[in-house]
């Protein structure tokens, strides 16, 4: 029993460790948001470079940099305020297929695997961008936020392809997320399409249909409406609506999404 408990703990922790990456992403986004806010304030009020409390002041000796990989801080290191970041050119699919063929023939299997993964990554990014192109530019009076369009592909079946688009105006937001080709989504889709939710008496979620597709809508006082719809064997569509007055308003917003078009792009 003791041994079993230890292994269960081991597996649990092993699951938690990859979550740290997600938490780090959250920290990064918060940092990005803070930086954007600072820039906006600077634009309105001007840059106060002589202010000793200003963290952007390079002459400020108290300005410490705690972004070191190993957590130590270097008081003399400047804060990074330039740089375009990494280039996001998708991998060339045909080039990588060719490289995979060559490596496989030469029995360089690790290289072949890398090239195949890169080719899958290139294809998934292309599929994701095609899906984004097919989504409306405005939903229920909310325009889409171009900068927040997102396509993520890990090349790992565990996670698959994720596509996101955000529509926002004032305090109202509608976010569409599409997940595709993840091992876990098959099970999630079976659950969504089975009507299993209907057995509950909890009124915060219930079964709905979006066009001809079954799904589940949930309501949370803080996060608003969440609609999850199974759209194929391994794809799921999740729409999140913040500050929508009614369930009907949320559903009619979701009806603007052309599911057939998405399915076609994803090969469902």
């Amino acid at each position: 029993m003791k041994k079993l408990t230890r292994y269960l703990f081991l597996i649990l922790l092993a699951g938690i460790i990859p979550m740290q990456g997600l938490m780090a992403q959250g920290r990064f986004l918060r940092k990005l948001q803070n930086k954007a806010e600072d820039k906006a304030i600077e634009k309105v009020f001007g840059k106060e470079t002589n202010d000793p409390n200003n963290p952007n002041n390079p002459n400020n000796s108290n300005n410490s940099n705690s972004n070191s990989v190993f957590g130590s801080s270097d008081s003399n290191a400047p804060t990074n305020n330039r740089g375009e970041g990494l280039t996001t050119t998708p991998p060339d699919v045909l080039e990588n297929i060719g490289a995979a063929e060559k490596s496989f023939d030469g029995k360089q299997y690790a290289d072949a695997r890398f090239a195949v993964r890169q080719a899958i990554l290139g294809i998934e990014l292309e599929m994701g961008n095609n899906v984004l192109e097919g989504l409306p530019e405005e939903i229920s009076g909310l325009p889409y936020v171009k900068e927040e369009d997102m396509v993520a592909s890990t090349g790992i079946g565990f996670v698959g392809l994720i596509i996101e688009r955000v529509y926002r105006k004032d305090d109202q937001q509608f976010k569409v997320s599409i997940g595709n080709d993840a091992a876990m989504l098959t099970a999630a889709n079976m659950y969504l399409a089975s009507g299993a939710y209907a057995t509950t008496t909890d009124q915060n979620y219930k079964n709905v249909t979006l066009g001809e597709y079954r799904g589940v809508i949930e309501y949370d006082e803080y996060s608003g409406y969440t609609l999850s719809v199974s759209i194929g064997q391994t794809s799921v569509l999740v729409a999140e609506g913040i500050n929508f007055e009614t369930e009907d308003a949320m559903m009619s917003a979701a009806e603007n999404i052309n599911i057939e078009k998405i399915k076609k792009e994803l090969g469902e």
Partner: protein
């Protein structure tokens, strides 16, 4: 742990299902489907290819494993190299050894993002602090966790888990009384070479 691996083997065999097809055809199909704009079909062929590559890597790993350990001979029919594309484990390799009253098995899981987490955990000394039946050992430059166990019939056995990169190697044996004999057997496994092939 042994039961978990047995279940995993059954799961992999069920998931892999059909016999591997011509690998070159997958790449050719992927290329032509991509050119004609059928992205999903292109991806499907590449995912199949990935599976084939993992099987090929698995075979390479099997070729590196010793034919015999101590006085135990490998069990021919028990050799297994599977490729799977669920993201949990890309490669699964298994070899068993047997002799009178004793047996051993080597299982290697690789190409899994989850294993990096297990790697960190296995190398944490805190996990073995409270168990007198466990100790950390080093084989071919890699740290491993050795666990001694005794069956209901009083037969002594050892389990060893060693994680490196995205690979987890598990060794278990029964009917072997001495820890030195276990480490001698482990030293016959070319860990560095396996690591190179599986990376």
């Amino acid at each position: 742990m042994k039961n978990i691996f047995t279940l995993l083997v059954i799961f992999i065999i069920m998931a892999v299902g059909a016999k591997a097809q011509d690998s070159e055809a997958y790449l050719d199909n992927a290329s032509s489907e991509y050119k004609s704009g059928n992205l999903e079909n292109a991806r499907f062929n590449l995912q199949q290819m990935l599976q084939e590559i993992n099987v090929a890597i698995g075979r390479d790993i099997l070729a590196l494993l010793p034919e015999e350990l101590a006085d135990m001979q490998k069990v021919e029919d028990a050799d297994n190299a599977s490729g799977i594309n669920t993201g949990y484990a890309g490669i699964f390799v298994n070899r068993s050894y047997t002799a009178e009253n004793r047996n051993a098995a080597i299982e290697i899981m690789s190409d899994s993002p989850l294993l990096s987490g297990i790697n960190i955990l296995l190398n944490m000394p805190i996990f073995i602090a409270g168990d007198p039946m466990q100790k950390r050992i080093k084989i071919d430059g890699q740290k491993a966790l050795l666990t001694k166990n005794t069956s209901a019939e009083g037969k002594i056995g050892y389990d060893v888990q060693m994680a490196f990169g995205s690979t987890l190697l598990t060794f278990n044996c029964s009917g072997v009384d001495s820890e030195n004999e276990v480490t001698a057997m482990l030293n016959k496994i070319p860990i560095q070479e396996i690591q190179k092939v599986a990376q």
